[in-house]
Point group: C2
Chain length 335, copies 2
């Protein structure tokens, strides 16, 4: 079997990565349709070494399409995802529009692929980048003993905010190297040589990004009572999010138990020397462009016996977005 695949938002950082991942993983596509806004229609993208012309994403484009990967923002998904689903396509949506909808499964294949089977709206939501990598690392721990509390501080890359943000980091890096004051357009302040909290406001003094980590983690793990204590921070890194996580389960765990569970966990590469070695931990720069969720710095907390620290790094454009979406499609069409 082979399938017709459409990518909506094909000119964005995640859309381009979706095309890369589809080609690299040899997804059985008999046709790939790159779609985008009217503004981007007519531009070219690369798929499997070939140039494809981007067309405008209109409802009739979804006729005869088997699977549509959306990564064009919430409002486009809200409008067009139901149109694609109504025409029989399976929709895998990377925006936040449908994630907390009770009739839309929120799927990380290593964690809850089975949830994708029940999709009354024909839509499957791809979680937020910072949530995906965290739950891939947490699931094997949750299976050892139910997680009660997760405290997470993030170190998130500029590309998580899109193409213009990534370009702004690059431009500001050049500004700094030249001794110029960095020019600010996309972020609320310089991101080069700085740290920002630039996400939209949520509730209770939290950013939207922080609340996503809370709500999506609970939904994916199917554990609505897990406490999640998030702080989300943008760092001057191009690609790959990193997370300092402290997890407390119902039972006390040892670092050895957690290392053992993670050493065979799907999607995880354990990068842990069993002790602290300077520079031996997972790092965002070498993780960029790769598929795994790297986990290291596994150690028992000094104050809460049996609580465990982890340092989790993954490419936010790949496992955090495009790869996870394509893996969902694989789970539905090729398994």
């Amino acid at each position: 079997m082979s399938y017709v695949v459409a990518v909506v938002g094909a000119t964005g950082v995640v859309g381009r990565e979706m095309l890369n991942v589809l080609a690299q993983r040899k997804f059985p596509a008999k046709r790939v349709l790159p779609l985008a806004s009217k503004r981007s229609a007519g531009s070219e993208v690369t798929f499997n070494g070939q140039k494809l012309t981007v067309e405008e994403a209109t409802p009739d484009r979804f006729e005869g399409v088997d699977v549509v990967l959306f990564s064009a923002g919430g409002s486009v998904s809200r409008e067009l995802a139901p149109q694609a689903a109504a025409r029989g396509a399976v929709v895998i949506d990377n925006s936040s529009a449908w994630r907390m909808d009770d009739e839309v499964p929120l799927v990380v294949p290593e964690v809850n692929m089975a949830a994708a089977k029940d999709r009354p709206k024909g839509i499957i939501a791809n979680p937020n980048c910072s949530t995906i990598q965290m739950v891939v690392a947490l699931k094997p721990i949750h299976d050892l003993s139910p997680i009660e509390h997760v405290i997470v501080s993030t170190y998130q890359a500029a590309s998580g905010k899109g193409h213009a943000a990534l370009e702004e980091l690059e431009r500001q890096t050049a500004d700094m190297a030249a001794g110029r004051e960095p020019e600010v357009k996309v972020f609320p302040a310089p991101i080069a040589g700085n740290l920002l909290m630039d996400w939209k406001p949520g509730e209770g003094g939290y950013s939207e990004e922080e609340l996503k980590l809370v709500n999506e983690t609970r939904k994916i793990l199917g554990a609505p009572d897990i406490g999640v204590s998030p702080t989300c921070v943008r760092v001057p890194v191009a690609t790959s999010h990193s997370e300092a996580v402290l997890v407390r389960c119902k039972d006390k765990l040892t670092p050895e138990q957690v290392r053992k569970a993670l050493s065979t966990a799907p999607g995880v590469v354990l990068q842990d020397e069993g002790t602290y070695v300077p520079g031996a931990h997972p790092q965002p720069r070498p993780a960029a462009g790769t598929d795994p969720v790297f986990v290291g710095r596994i150690r028992e907390d000094l104050a809460l016996p049996g609580a465990i620290h982890l340092w989790i790094v993954a490419d936010n454009l790949r496992k955090g977005a495009a790869l996870n979406a394509v893996q969902i499609a694989e789970g539905i069409f090729t398994r």
Copy 2:
């Protein structure tokens, strides 16, 4: 009264900043002696717009000196601090050599200046940069209700590792802007566009830096039972450390109580809109070169009722090192 002041390690990033701070704050110095290793002797540093020639730090140099600020590393301090104290000087030591010595007070003036009075060895230790800014923000909270547990993830600047590290970040930033692979000499891997844990190993899977946060916080606050759960991370920022802190006290606190306490706390600038506003939080880039400890993102934890999150930013070379040392000297000589 005016005093003879020596700075040991005068050519390092912190030593230079000590000279700046002494001049800026008009410390009553009748003479300032810049001292360093034999290798650096003969070089020049600037104090109050004047060039001073650096001399080799030998024991006899401390004759007639009233106060010696050390920032030349642990082994120099271990050898020379007692020599300076034996000649009657008050030693304020920025290395980690004496910090946990029971006969050496560990002082942050806003927190425990009184401890400096009892210095049987004639030595006062200046705490680690990441500890200083944290305890300045925690003390007013500890006074509201005794702190039981602090969970801290750091975002530490390159200059915390010294001059060569700061230059490496600058050089690698230029490499990145030019599309070159960053050259690595000082850090164990690239720091530009990356995150590192580059400190020496401690025990139990922790870095030395992480254990400093635990032990020094307890000693400064005089509360040996406080639980501290640290993760220390280096970020590609030149100057100013940032910290995501979650604090749980004996009693439940509200963000309003904490904001009120911090709004009048010595050394603290409250930078908190009372809610989440993108970009309105304290940032390392604008904090560099300034004196305060900036605190923002004050909010109640979502899982632990009455536990409070803080985001704490300060210049690691000034409040984290040079300024704190000079403030200790002021507390002894000018109050």
